[in-house]
Amino acid sequence: MPHTQRLLTLLLVLAAPVAVAAADLPKVMLFTTGGTIQSRASYRAKLHEYNDGPRVTPADILKDVPEASALAKIEVVEVSNIGSGGINTTLLLKLAKGLNAELAKPDVTGAVVTHGTGTLEETAYFLHLTVKSKKPVVVIGAMRPWSAISRDGPLNFYNAVRTAITPEAVGKGVLVLLNDTIHSARLVTKNNTYHVETFVAREIGPIGFADSDRVVFYRTPLTRHTADSEFDISSIDSLPQVDVVYGYQEASSAGVDALVADGAKGLVFADSSPEYRQAILRAQGTGVVIVQSDRKGSGRVLATDSVASRGVIASDNLNPQKARILLRLALTKTTQPRELQRIFNEY
């Protein structure tokens, strides 16, 4: 097919300058899972219940923010396009495995992940524990839909690409970036239902900022993560069931027994209730691991002698939803309370 060959050569020659320029740019993988950042509402001022427009595709994001493609060669892996409430173990594992495959390639500089904000901190912490790479992974979302007046998504996306190609971001674990602020996945939590400054790390604080002049870091995380993590999900297709039990006045233990009957291998308690005492002993009797977390949102649960003597694991300052993620992974390694406590101390 000489004609086709000639045409191809011609195309290659024409495309050469562009190709060279693109080759000079660092390569960033964009993993999309959905969320508000990929939602469209029927009108601009609609900032809630915004699922009445067509979903925003990865291509829409790239088209709307051409500035990002001027900084990096962005390649897309679409994992899902759903709200964060729908993210499940299958998707978490797919995302982590996909990131590990791409980040292992020498020509990939970093990755950006879009996610709904509701459970974003859970996915980010899961990746913080399971991504086997020092390359930056930046998880983003938006508080306002892609269609909204003063939408925050485009700047969050642009800043995420900048951060993913910032050398100082290497080795800092999985990062969460919204509202110009860079948080460690280990410490960040969603703090407000609708406002753009929702993500905070409470008493420990953010680790950097993506400002117009510079992506700047003030802190390096010290708990174990990513390349230094002992968790390996490469040959795992499911994770042990772990559920969270809230604590409040006169809480009934019926829920605890029901979760154990449902097959939970671990339970995380967000605070406690006197009613739980017997139910916890019954659960432990069937081999269920108990982690004590807290509903206050900041501060540590201490690994005291009394906690240890009851065979309960203290969650440090992990909130219940993150303690659940760590416990699920820890249970792939051990059910030994001492060893589990070591894991909660180190991660």
């Binding site: 008493e203 420990i204 802190r219 010290l222 180190e346």
Partner: protein, 379 residues
């Protein structure tokens, strides 16, 4: 693993408890005996620069009008009041307080550059002394963040130097001093506190000298790092760090107390506050007084007031270096084209009183704006 267990071997604990009990029974107010040498407890030097933590009130309820002549806590009194620390560290004390003042004398008049030099020189000696594992420095809370930041820049060490103070006098009802002191000693004795620059430990939080500031006049949670938060905690079970600083400090600093010019020759830098219609003559007066640098605490994202701009240009024409901070006291002053054109150097997110100290040190090395900008970017 960034944690340390405070539990001693059972035999050592029993011996120490016995020693403490005996000493307490015999002489209730006596300093607990130093633990036996074979225990190899860390050696922490407790240096007093005074402060509320070193002050007594005439009654327990005196929480505001304490200290003054005859109302000071001697360094050894802290140790005798806190026998618990003898299980954590071997403590020796040093007294770097300003001379005893009359009751109505101004607070913290010991915080002069000359005094800083003396303290920094001693801290460097202690850092170089292989028998010392860490240092705790007490300080009045009003300007302790400035002193800590100066030490963070000029003392070259990997050992923990921990600043501590209190919001209530040592004698105050529900005084925060004893727990703050106990925890500061734990932090200074903790290997996980090494390599993190000069630290500030109060109210169970551990902050970096660079970022910490006093944010409330009387509350015990006054010390906050506004932009970036605390780095760790001193909790009952362990001293734990979640983060460490990325900016240059202590052993990574290019400044060194040994090579600084005489304190009287440290370049003079003043702070000019920005507000609507602030007169430019304040800056002119600073220049007439021979300042080498001016920190303008600018409005918003770091903008000097319009009425200051002409005076800034006059100052710059005379070779005065102008740095701008943001009076919002949160957020960075960014490097923008317009700011570059104005020759005004952004101070990143340093508070004005800290930008002043860094500029003073920077001016001992260079007056080149590019080089000073680099220093503000790196520290």
């Amino acid at each position: 693993m960034h944690r340390i267990d405070l539990f001693l071997p059972r035999a050592a604990l029993a011996a120490l408890t016995l020693a403490c009990c005996l000493s307490l029974t015999l002489h209730a107010q006596e300093i607990p005996p130093l633990p036996p040498k074979e225990l190899k407890l860390p050696h922490v030097v407790l240096m007093s620069m005074g402060g509320t933590i070193a002050s007594k009130g005439d009654t327990r309820l005196n929480l505001t009008n304490y200290g003054g002549k005859g109302m000071r806590v001697e360094p050894d009194e802290w140790v005798s009041d806190l026998p618990e620390v003898s299980l954590i560290a071997r403590i020796t004390t040093e007294d770097f307080r300003a001379p005893e003042r009359e009751r109505d004398a101004p607070f913290e008049h010991g915080s002069t550059h000359a005094h800083w030099y003396k303290v920094a020189t001693r801290l460097q000696e202690l850092a170089n002394d292989p028998s010392v594992d860490g240092v705790v420095v007490t300080h009045g809370t009003n300007v302790m963040a400035e002193t800590a930041w100066f030490m963070n820049l000029v003392v070259n060490t990997k050992k923990p130097i921990v600043f501590v103070g209190s919001q209530r006098p040592w004698t105050g009802i529900s005084g925060d001093g004893p727990l703050n002191m106990y925890n500061a000693i734990r932090v200074a004795a903790s290997p996980v506190a090494a390599n993190k620059g000069v630290l500030h430990a109060m109210n169970q939080n551990i902050n970096a000298a660079r970022d910490v500031t006093k944010s409330s006049a009387y509350r015990v949670q006054t010390f906050q790092s506004i932009d970036v938060g605390a780095m760790g905690v001193a909790d009952p079970d362990i001293v734990k760090f979640y983060l460490e600083p990325t900016r240059r400090h202590t052993f990574k600093s290019e400044f060194n107390i040994a090579t600084l010019p005489d304190p009287a020759k440290l370049p003079n830098v003043e702070i000019a506050y920005a507000y609507t219609e602030v007169p430019g003559y304040i800056i002119d007066a600073m220049v007439a007084n021979g300042v080498k640098g001016i920190v303008v605490d600018g409005t918003g994202a770091g903008s000097p007031a319009g009425s200051q701009m002409d005076a800034i240009k006059r100052a710059q024409a005379k070779g005065v270096v102008v740095v701008v901070t943001a009076r919002t006291h949160g957020g960075r002053v960014q490097d923008t084209p317009r700011r570059r054109e104005s020759g005004i150097i952004p101070a990143d997110n340093l508070l004005p009183e800290k930008a002043r100290i860094l500029l003073q040190l920077a001016l001992t090395k260079t007056t080149d704006p590019k080089e000073i900008k680099r220093i503000f970017d790196e520290y």
